[in-house]
Amino acid sequence: MADIAIEVKDLDYVYPDGCLALNSVSIKVFFGERVAILGPNGAGKSTLLMLISGLLKPSKGSVHIFGMPISENSYKIRSSLGIVFQDPDDQLFCPTLWEDVTFGPLNIGLSEDEVVKRGKEALKSVGLDGYEERAPHHLSAGEKKRAAIATVLAMNPKILILDEPTANLDPKSKKELVKIIDNLHKSQKITLVIATHDVDFIPLVADRAYILNKRIMAEGNLEDLFSNPDMIRKAGLELPNITRLFELIEESMNLNSIKPFPLTVEQALYEIKRCFKNNLQA
């Protein structure tokens, strides 16, 4: 089973105050996959990501990364697994961006030349080259987010975990983020795990998803999941705007054959064009 990157089995997590955060959660992520963890606020998404990266200890169950149990190999695994926190201010704790970016590589014990190379590459891949000497508190929210991603990329992770990557971002920064994530996946075949409740954003960066609300409610391809609006709403989520539009079209025109619904603007455009063509022919 060498092609499984992350395997979570029957995971329970109880908060220190005794409240159950996660209830027998099982997840499998394969190499090079783009997987989303969708769930409303307070569903336990961040907790699950912390457990996957070994920052928290599960109350029950196990987490295996590359087939190794994380509880025994946390230091070894951490160099190949990068987690980007929701608040970039938690992740940028050095006086300059350059020190933040080189913090990880220096900790793994790489040579200085390698550290410099990796730092430069990481900043370049998020479009922040030339920002080395900038102080984190002088960056904008979008820049901070990209900087936080760079600090993790500098460690050359095989798995990249993102917690609410679109929180507090303006549309332009969001677009740039999609581009960065896309590039990483295409050029480095990086395995992505993205936790979010931003349903409009997720079709752009993931193929498969787990719907989480304390426990796994559903699992599958995004098209299939979003074709089941009742389940999505029961989990405390909503359809992407485009998908919602097609759902309404289907309802109001009493159609029953336009599933799976398109999830992105591009897919919708394709679908609409097809409809018009069929109409013209008929």
Binding site: R78, D90, F103, H137
Partner: protein, 263 residues
């Protein structure tokens, strides 16, 4: 009112306007600066005459001019602290035994001398420290401290504190604004105090929680209790000359005072 005070503090702590100018002191290696300013403070503490201290203070003003810091800005910055120092020195003329001044029998000449020496000494030290922090980027100060063999755990604590003072100030500022936006009539002193107290406790809890998250972020990037850093600085001849000149002038002034009794 309180919120604008917070903003002002933030601006004072994070003013890096003058550290990026191309003045003489800005171009000196931070380690050479640390050594020369420590030597300078050492001399200021040893000095026992008002004239020597005046010379030392004059040197700091001269240095501030060559490093392109506006004199007025520099004066305001230092006089703020001098205010407190003067208050501390105020009782000295009354409690020091010696010859009374002709106006009043309570005040002694020795006492006035002592108070003046105290104020001038602190002034010289503060001037040099403010000059140092104004002309050096904070990251370079930290870097220089690491290079001068100050323990890493100590420098790391300073750098993280510095980084998060800014966030805390911002957080406090937002909390104050949120409170002000919901205050529709003038409140009694007691009520303001009470709400401030609860705000401070909230701020403590928030910083504690952030501290935990930052620690996790460090662990996630392979932090094991110690870190390395990249060597970027190099001491050149110019830096040595600067340190030498500072030490030389100070020691000449001091030895003139001690050995020859000139002043």
């Amino acid at each position: 009112m309180l919120s604008s005070l917070l903003k002002a503090i933030g601006e004072i702590v994070y003013n890096e306007k003058y550290s990026s100018l191309n003045g003489i002191i800005q171009s000196i290696d931070p380690r050479a600066k640390i050594i020369s300013f420590i030597a300078f403070i050492f001399f200021a503490i040893l000095a026992r005459s008002i004239l020597t201290l005046m010379i030392l203070i004059a040197i700091t003003f001269l240095l501030s001019i060559v490093s392109k810091i506006p004199l007025k800005f520099f004066m305001i910055r230092t006089s703020f602290i001098l205010l407190f120092v003067t208050v501390i020195a105020l009782p000295l003329p009354f409690i020091t035994p010696g010859n009374p001044v002709f106006i009043s029998s309570f005040i002694t000449i020795e006492g006035i001398d002592k108070a003046l020496l105290f104020i001038l000494r602190v002034w010289a030290c503060i001037n040099s420290l403010i000059l140092f922090t104004l002309t050096t980027r904070f990251s370079s100060i930290i870097n220089a401290m690491e290079k001068t063999k100050i323990p890493k755990i100590f420098t790391m604590m300073i750098s993280i504190t510095y980084r998060f003072i800014f966030l805390s100030i911002n957080e406090a500022y937002r909390m104050l604004l949120a409170k002000e936006s919901r205050t529709i009539k003038k409140e009694s002193r007691l009520k303001v105090m009470k709400s401030l107290a609860s705000m401070i406790s909230t701020l403590f809890i928030r910083s504690y929680e952030r501290g935990e998250r930052v620690y996790l972020a460090m662990i996630a990037r392979g932090y094991k209790g110690s870190t390395r850093n990249l060597d970027k600085m190099s001491i050149k001849g110019k830096d040595m000359i600067f340190a030498f000149i500072i030490v030389f002038i100070c020691s000449v002034a001091l030895s003139a005072e001690y050995l020859l009794g000139v002043f």
